[in-house]
């Protein structure tokens, strides 16, 4: 495979005694979009939460194996610096309730104590909100609390918040599941645009979406990586029977 930025080696993940990921081996190519698909509960969220070491924050979570960012094992890195390079958009929108829309977008800077001039702040906010397709809707009330927005708007606000700090890799956990078709199209265009500079890992349930925007697709089933290939091949000639059944709607 072409040069990859993130390589998963023999990854296992547990919640208490339940193993939810079983010996995953996978590498994410640089500046490409990789989709992760699979039926509900198969471990997609857990997988991407391992990538920025959010998984270990759950009380009884455990993991085994390694993940290489370049040639360093992220489990040997400081999780704080790691997370500044790997942004994440969660499955459920979670804008900060104590901050306005404007402050939410800048949270990655302000919470880390990074000082910016007024001009820099304004331009970061506008740029991130435009990319997240939210600017037109909120530009006149940037000082309202982020939690007053609708669910889909909140999700785009969270996307803007993740983009604002300009990470190298962005993890999207079903970013469009709460969005209407127009905003969805916009986010898909954004992902197309972003991959010129950023590596993207995207969990999605939407087969058509994965086919449209992803370069590679990984298919997970009950904690195992069943198949991983270029999206073109996965969607036209899946090798594994389970992938084929999932794609044709037999389960999931």
């Amino acid at each position: 495979m072409e040069n990859s930025i993130l390589t998963i080696k023999n990854l296992d993940a547990y919640f208490g005694k339940t193993q939810v990921l079983k010996n995953i081996n996978l590498s994410f190519p640089y500046k490409k979009v990789t989709a992760i698909m699979g039926p509900s509960g198969c471990g997609k969220t857990t997988l991407i939460r391992c990538l920025n070491r959010m998984h270990e924050l759950t009380a009884d979570a455990d993991y085994g194996g390694s993940i290489f960012l370049g040639d360093v094992n992220i489990f040997e890195k400081n999780p704080i610096t790691l997370r500044r390079h790997i942004g994440m958009v969660f499955q459920r929108p979670n804008p900060f309730p104590n901050m306005s829309i404007y402050e939410n977008v800048l949270a990655g800077y302000t919470l880390n104590g990074i000082r910016l001039t007024r001009l820099e702040r304004d331009s970061i906010v506008q740029d991130a909100l435009q990319k997240a397709a939210l600017w037109e809707e909120v530009k006149n009330h940037l000082n309202k609390k982020g939690t007053f927005l609708s669910g889909g708007q909140q999700q785009r606000l969270c996307i803007a918040r993740a983009l604002a700090v300009k990470p190298d890799i962005i993890l999207f956990d079903e970013p469009t599941s709460a969005l209407d078709p127009r905003a969805t199209t916009h986010i898909e265009e954004l992902i197309e645009e972003l991959k010129k500079t950023v590596t993207i890992v995207m969990v999605t349930h939407n087969i058509a979406q994965a086919a449209r925007v992803s370069d590679y697709t990984a298919f997970l089933y009950m904690g195992e990586l069943v198949e991983y290939n270029s999206s073109e091949r996965i969607f036209t000639v899946p090798k594994d029977k389970r992938t084929e059944e999932y794609l044709t709607g037999k389960f999931g």
């Binding site: 704080i80 790691l82 997370r83 804008p95 900060f96 309730p97 949270a107 919470l111 939690t147 993740a162």
Partner: protein, 282 residues
């Protein structure tokens, strides 16, 4: 038949409403009487001199005022606030962050026990541990009151923070924000309204405490702002003057009661405003 049934139910509904209305009114009556009585007896001695003068000896023309107790109350309550808030909020944050460790279960139990310790017992403890060595002082009084206050602040903080969804913490950590900054800049501010309300209500509760102060702050007839010396407070003054044989002093006690009630009322109103202003929608 069906029609009749519905009518019956509507009547029952109505009766039930009337019943709970009457019951809650009954609960209010003593309160209204108490407040009315304090108001009636207190308001006539209240004037500028009452709030700014020291008491006069019995038999003088003017009865004087309660400025020393007013200042003392503010100092002692303020000091208790600064002593109790860091420990209270710190413990509350700890308990909500570590819900099931053995240590936190023990701490929670201790806090609950402390909440149930009578205030006079706390006063005796402060007497035995501080006053016997250092003498009577406002500081000893504040320490006693802060011990009463801490469990309330802990519980208020813990309960407030428990309601904040963990997803905000995750959002912050995922941005590479260190844990301590996440707590200080996201979690505690999100619970600011609830925490502040808990603190204000705890202040209102201790503002009227007398028993622990009898052994500690003792009381004083002079205007004193030195926290290492005995100091007067409103409840102490009420206790002194109300049990004295002089009519004039009884009036002063009523006036002081009135001021104390207003003080507590103001704290309650402020906490209402805080709830409204900093109400955070999740």
């Amino acid at each position: 038949m069906k029609e009749k049934n519905i009518r019956r139910r509507l009547i029952k509904d109505r009766l039930f409403l009337i019943l709970i209305g009457v019951l809650s009114l009954t609960a209010l009556i003593p309160l209204i009487f108490i407040l009315g009585y304090i108001f009636r007896n207190g308001i006539r001695v209240i004037n500028w001199d009452f709030l700014t003068q020291l008491p006069q000896p019995v038999g003088e023309e003017t009865a004087g005022g309660i400025v020393h107790a007013l200042v003392g109350t503010i100092i002692i309550i303020g000091l208790s606030f600064f002593l109790a808030v860091p420990f209270g909020i710190g413990t509350g944050v700890y308990l909500s962050e570590n819900r099931n460790t053995r240590f936190s279960v023990i701490v929670r139990l201790c806090v609950d026990l402390l909440m149930g310790v009578p205030s006079i017992v706390v006063g005796i403890i402060a007497y035995a541990w501080i006053v016997r060595f250092q003498g009577f002082s406002a500081l000893a009084g504040s320490i006693a009151l802060s011990i009463l206050m801490i469990p309330m602040v802990v519980r208020g903080t813990e309960e407030t923070l428990n309601l904040i969804p963990p997803s905000y913490k995750e959002a912050s950590l995922a941005l590479g924000v260190p844990y301590y900054r996440t707590m200080l800049k996201v979690i505690i501010p999100s619970g600011f309204g609830g925490i502040t309300t808990g603190v204000l209500l705890a202040l209102a509760r201790i503002a009227g405490e007398t028993a622990p102060l009898l052994f500690t702050a003792l009381g004083s007839n002079f205007l004193n702002v030195n926290i290492f010396k005995p100091m007067h407070t409103l409840p102490l003054l009420i206790y002194d003057y109300a049990t004295s044989p002089y009519k004039e002093w009884h009036h002063i006690a009523w006036g002081a009661s009135f001021v104390l009630v207003i003080f507590v009322l103001v704290l309650n109103i402020i906490s209402r405003l805080v709830i409204k202003k900093w109400k955070i929608q999740f």
